[in-house]
Structure formats: structure tokens, C-alpha cells
Amino acid sequence: MKMNKFLIALFVLAVLFVLSLFIGPTSLNGFDIIFHIRLPRVLQAVIAGCALSVAGVIFQGVLKNPLCDPYILGTSSGALFGAVLAQVIGLNQGSFFFYILIGASALGATLIAYNLAKYKKQVSNVDLILAGVIISTFLSALVLLFLSLHRESALNIVFFMMGGLYETDKGLLIAAAVLVFIGIMLALSLSRQLDIFSLGEEKAVHLGINTEKYKIIYFTIASLITACAVSISGTIGFVGLVVPHMARLIVGPSHFRLILASAIGGSMFLIVTDAFARTVIAPGEIPVGIITALVGAPFFLWLLFRNRGKIK
């Protein structure tokens, strides 16, 4: 009964996927273009869309806060910092190690935030979010410092921040796809416990769940898949925040369904927005993160107003 909804959704996703292969900034439609240029790009949209949405679901579940996005622990500033670091050490932009550095840096920032918030083997949600803010602010300041001394890099960094599905290393794409897939599978298998987490950590302890251990597992999964997404597509905003909400409205709060719905929804969201991003001002291109923010922000506002008073 519920599976029907998902099968329909998967079907729609497949249709969108195929359709978008034929949408591009040019009138070229040969097999070459579709296979070598459009296909990797749409795959990137799927990977990043899945990863960011599911990471959003996990953070919102563990931290009991529907306003969390996957960058809350400093991931986006970490990635940005990595991009700047790459420039400083002269790493060739677009090389394999460039992407690795960004991903590692994103993950590193999250680790630091987690350890900052840890106190006597325990981590409180408020401390975690605060630590994320501190790390983000600090790293952003370092990035801006760099920019003030190297204005010519400003445009580059700003557009990295907005995110974009540019051609990337094929090996990296496959590695990211595998990691994201494993991450989502793990999250699905642990979704039952995530339901209990949303009742609060005390309740979770009462029900026999080792909360500190699970927190580490959840944060690791979420941070890892976010880092994968960010390393290949930059810091695309709003997907991780808005898609879980849309999914929750459609399939309810049970995390198993929520994770599946968010993965599918996130992929659809990015496939569509990227199709726009690469055709609207063709042959010019708008970074996809701008489209997601422009579409996401008003939509999120609408959701907030709709739910006014419900969440207190």
C-alpha cells in the first residue's frame, strides 16, 4: 500500500532523469553529448541531491530540530576553507586531490565541531549547534581574509559557495556515488532508532539505546555523505533543509519512509533546478545553488507560515 507511492515516485524520478538528458544549453542532441556531458551531470545531481537531503533528515532527527541543514556542523565552511587552502598551496583546480582536499576539509570541520561540543563523553544538542556556528564563523573569517588579500580569487570562491554541477573527475564521481549509497543504506537500517531519537535523548536512554554511540554513527554517516556531495558540487544550499520538510509532509515522520522519500525528492529537486541553471541564460550558466536558494527560500517560508503554532 505505501510502497505504491514510492514506486510512482521512483518512476517519476526516472522520467525526469531521462528527460533532463535531452535538455541543455545547446541544440546538440547526439549520443556523444548526452552520454559524455549530460549523463555525468545528471548523475551528479542525483548523488548530491540524495546525499544532502538524507543528511538533512539525519541531522533533523538526531538534533530534534527541524531547522537543521547538513551544513550545521560547519561542513560548508570547511569545504570553502579547503577550496581556499587548495589555491594557497597551488593545487591544480580540478585535479583529483583538489576534490579530496575539499571533502576532507569539510569532514574535518565537522569533527572539530563535534569534539568542541563534547564534554565528559557526552554531547548536548545545543552545544553541538553552537560549536558548528563557532567553527563556521571562524573558517569563514579565514576565507574572507584570504579573499581580501587575493581579490582575483573572489569570484571563483563565491561561485564555489553557490555550488554547481561542473565536469568532475570520473573516478571521484563513482567513489562519491558508492559512499553515498552505502551511507543511505546504513541510515535506512538504523532509521528505527532515529525515530526514537526524535523523542529526546533521555527517552532513548530509557528505551535502552546507547545514545552516544548512535550519535557518533549518525553524525559520521551524515557528515560523510555531505562531504561527498560538497566535494563534487560545492555547497549547494536549501536542498538539505527544504526537501526533508516536503518529504515529511507527504510521507509522515517515520524515518524509514522519510529517508527514502527525501533521497528521491532531493534527486528530483536538483535534476530540475540544474536543468534550469544550465538553460535559462544559455550559453551562460547560473550556479545551481542560486536556483535552489531562489526556489527554496520562498517555499520554505510558505511551509513555515503553514505550520505556524504547530511546532512550539
Binding site: K64, S189, R192, Q193
Partner: protein
């Protein structure tokens, strides 16, 4: 049969003693009430019992074993806890919430089975709230919500059920219903009930043991009828006019 034996329990928060020298023993199917003004250490003691706070000094033996020797899931199969107020940000259904109580019986990769859902429904039926099963938890009144979390605790199949101020914000109908239900559990299933409450009237009707706390110190422990006297209560709550208490609570 002795189910909890607490000896010389102290607990410090940041160097300050929250409770000092707590000592009591209760048996299976006892109905223990813990009374005391705010800040007297009731919640601290309950959190130690629930293993939210790690025991610091003294010894606490639950069902024959030291409390720190249990594995979390093992303890959760025996001990369940109902807080006074749970914030539920997401709209789970009542049945979904109640069946979460079966978590201690599942391995990490397992999902709830038919029998778990059945047990949850039976519990709801026995509490006469099965009509709420598909409703969203956030659409219920506070009284109904409290009953749901009691159902969740019962589905854990506990030997000990602890409740922290379960009726403070409820109307008389729910107060009576909950106390009646707890008593039924005690009589039928031999569940030991520990309840921290300000509802002295109701408590005096059902409790057979009482523990009175003030500023972390134990003012009294023993039979409820001995403990719940105007004298003891006024000393515990630091009230000067004992006559008023007698009148108020018909002690």
C-alpha cells in the same frame, strides 16, 4: 521479594550535593511515592534510578543486581520511565509512539514485528484509548498524551515503572484514571510503581510506601500511612500551619 535496595546514595552536581544519604528498600508490587518541594532532589534520584545520571556513591541494587552492572537494553527490559512532559516535534501516530516501547527487545537491524504492534494495540485497548491509535501525537490533549507515554512504558513489559509528576498538568478525570491504571498494573501484573507527585490526596489513596525529601535529605521513609501525616508533610514542605494541611488533605 526485595526489588530495590538503595543504601547511602549521594549525588553531586558540579560539586554541590543534590541528594545526601538516601536509604530505602522496597518490594515487588510496592507503590512508592516520593514527595518533596521543588529542588528537593526527587528528579535527581529518579534520574539515578533511570540511569540517566551515573551513580556516584552508595549502592543501588535493582532486581538483585547492582544498577551499574546492567547493559542498557537489559535494564530497559525491566525498568521503564515516564517523564512528566515530552516534547514531540514530529507528528508520529499514537501507535507508532507506543510500539517504540518494544525497542529494548529488538536487535539493531530488526524492525517491529506483527507481535510488537499487536502488543501495542492490546495495551492501548486495556487502557481504553485504542480509538486514538491512528491519531497524531500532537493532536491529543495533555492527558491523552500522558496516557500514550504510559502505554509506551507498559509495552516495555517492565518490572518497575517510574513516573515523574505524571498528573501535575492534568484535570481530575485523567488524574484518577492514571492512578487507577497504575494500581491495576500493580495488582494484576505485580509491577512496582514509583511515583514522584505533588498530588498528595491521590497518592495517599494508593501508595503503600512513602519517601519524603527536603533539600536532598531524607525526611522519612516507611509505610505511607506513617509517612503521610500532617506533621511530616509540613516539615518536608516547610509549611508552618499544620492545621491547614490536615484540612486540605484530610490526613
Amino acid at each position: 521479594m526485595q526489588i530495590i535496595s538503595a543504601e547511602n546514595i549521594d549525588f553531586k552536581y558540579n560539586g554541590e550535593k543534590a541528594i545526601n544519604g538516601i536509604d530505602f528498600k522496597i518490594n515487588e508490587a510496592d507503590f512508592l511515592t516520593i514527595l518533596g518541594p521543588n529542588g528537593s532532589g526527587k528528579s535527581t534520584l529518579l534520574k539515578i534510578l533511570a540511569r540517566i545520571n551515573d551513580i556516584q556513591t552508595g549502592s543501588l541494587i535493582v532486581n538483585g543486581h547492582y544498577i551499574e552492572s546492567y547493559e542498557s537494553s537489559e535494564y530497559a527490559k525491566f525498568f521503564s520511565y515516564v517523564p512528566g512532559d515530552i516534547y514531540t516535534p514530529y507528528d508520529f501516530s499514537v501507535l507508532e509512539i507506543v510500539v517504540m516501547g518494544r525497542a529494548p527487545y529488538l536487535k539493531w537491524w530488526e524492525d517491529y514485528q506483527k507481535k510488537d504492534n499487536l502488543l501495542a494495540m492490546e495495551t492501548l485497548e486495556s487502557m481504553r484509548i485504542s480509538h486514538l491509535a491512528k491519531r497524531s501525537i500532537n493532536s491529543l490533549s495533555s492527558g491523552e498524551k500522558q496516557l500514550v507515554f504510559i502505554a509506551q512504558a507498559l509495552v516495555q513489559n517492565p518490572g518497575i515503572l517510574v513516573l515523574d509528576e505524571p498528573t501535575s498538568h492534568l484535570d481530575i478525570k485523567y488524574k484518577m484514571e492514571i492512578f487507577g491504571l497504575l494500581n491495576k498494573m500493580r495488582e494484576e501484573k505485580k509491577i512496582t510503581i514509583i511515583i514522584a507527585s505533588h498530588d498528595i490526596n491521590l497518592v495517599s489513596l494508593y501508595a503503600n510506601k512513602a519517601l519524603l525529601l527536603n533539600k536532598g535529605k531524607q525526611m522519612f521513609f516507611g509505610r505511607a500511612q506513617d509517612g503521610l501525616t500532617a506533621d511530616n508533610i509540613s516539615r518536608t514542605y516547610e509549611i508552618e500551619d499544620t492545621s491547614k494541611i490536615t484540612a486540605m488533605f484530610k490526613l
